[in-house]
Symmetry: C2
Subunit: 180 residues, 2 copies
Amino acid sequence: MAVSEQRTSLTPTGRVILGMLALGERSGYDIKQKVDKSTRFFWAASYGQIYPELRTLEQQGLVRGRPEPSGERARTLYELTEAGETALREWLSSEGEPLYELRDEGMLKLFFSDAVPEQRIEVIRAMRERQERKLAQLEAIHGNAKDMPTGPLLTLELGLDLTRRFIDWCDAAELRLGKE
Amino acid sequence: MAVSEQRTSLTPTGRVILGMLALGERSGYDIKQKVDKSTRFFWAASYGQIYPELRTLEQQGLVRGRPEPSGERARTLYELTEAGETALREWLSSEGEPLYELRDEGMLKLFFSDAVPEQRIEVIRAMRERQERKLAQLEAIHGNAKDMPTGPLLTLELGLDLTRRFIDWCDAAELRLGKE
DNA sequence: AGGTGCATGTAACAGGTTACATGATTAA
DNA sequence: TTAATCATGTAACCTGTTACATGCACCT
């Protein structure tokens, strides 16, 4: 049965899955766990997306799954096919304008804060607090990051850098606004 | 005809619209223009969202629209009602965990770059270029920002700060990786 | 016996984009 | 006259989340 010739237009979640399989994760569950402690800071994924997408990728011949139960508990382990590796590399080398989407309600509140100026500092403090929490999470990941590949390590370091800068800005802004 | 009693659960786009009306924008078109040169960096909106949402908000009694054609060209100008102002202030003062969603394909490429290590620097350079473009846009807005209210000004300055930091990080990373 | 983690999956919903359609006005 | 800008709107689509359901395995 030949793999039907279809466009290999990798969906967003498809990219994450191929990438994670290349890093060695195996089951849908594994992928979700890994996403939650790595890419989730700039690219989240839910089970509702991952499991159906694994099927689609298998139909496209980009991954290969085989049942590998642990005891009585059903489990399917996936791996990249050659076509899958190629698709991953093609995506990583592609030139087109990459997707970038941000929706940040905290920033929006700050932007519109002139409607309730007395709340402005509160808005900034809340933003700072969230960045502080994020920083703690990133630092925790960085703590046990001995054998981390370069790619994950770089994104982690960038995240740490920008988060710290964000916190510094909040502190400076609070000072400035406090003086007026 | 009494405004029916319904939950005033402001949708995401509804918030932007109320905020923009508070800042003085009037038509759906105006709102879209303003979004495109301000909040779009952390909160975008499309016509397909704005026009239907204006209707919904009117049904909820949060905005009031009246036709005000310019010549033969149809146009509807909106303004906040009292209920709308209240809803806006309530949202701005609300405590719940605010929505935050980021999808950054560039970061994802960097994260998975170990699958094609020889492309890594290219990925970083492309990221840097995009930040550079964003910086230019933000600086252009900052240039003619004489009478900008504090809220918009603060978000703009924060955006400038983080974008510059991002560019610095890219430069440093390129140097580091170049040496190996 | 009960809670937590492993493991998979689906249906309903939410929120948003894109492409398209229409037409007036203004500046080149 | 033509292109750009003003102005409104809809239908089809895409992508994703949430809530729910199931059941095994392990630890206490």
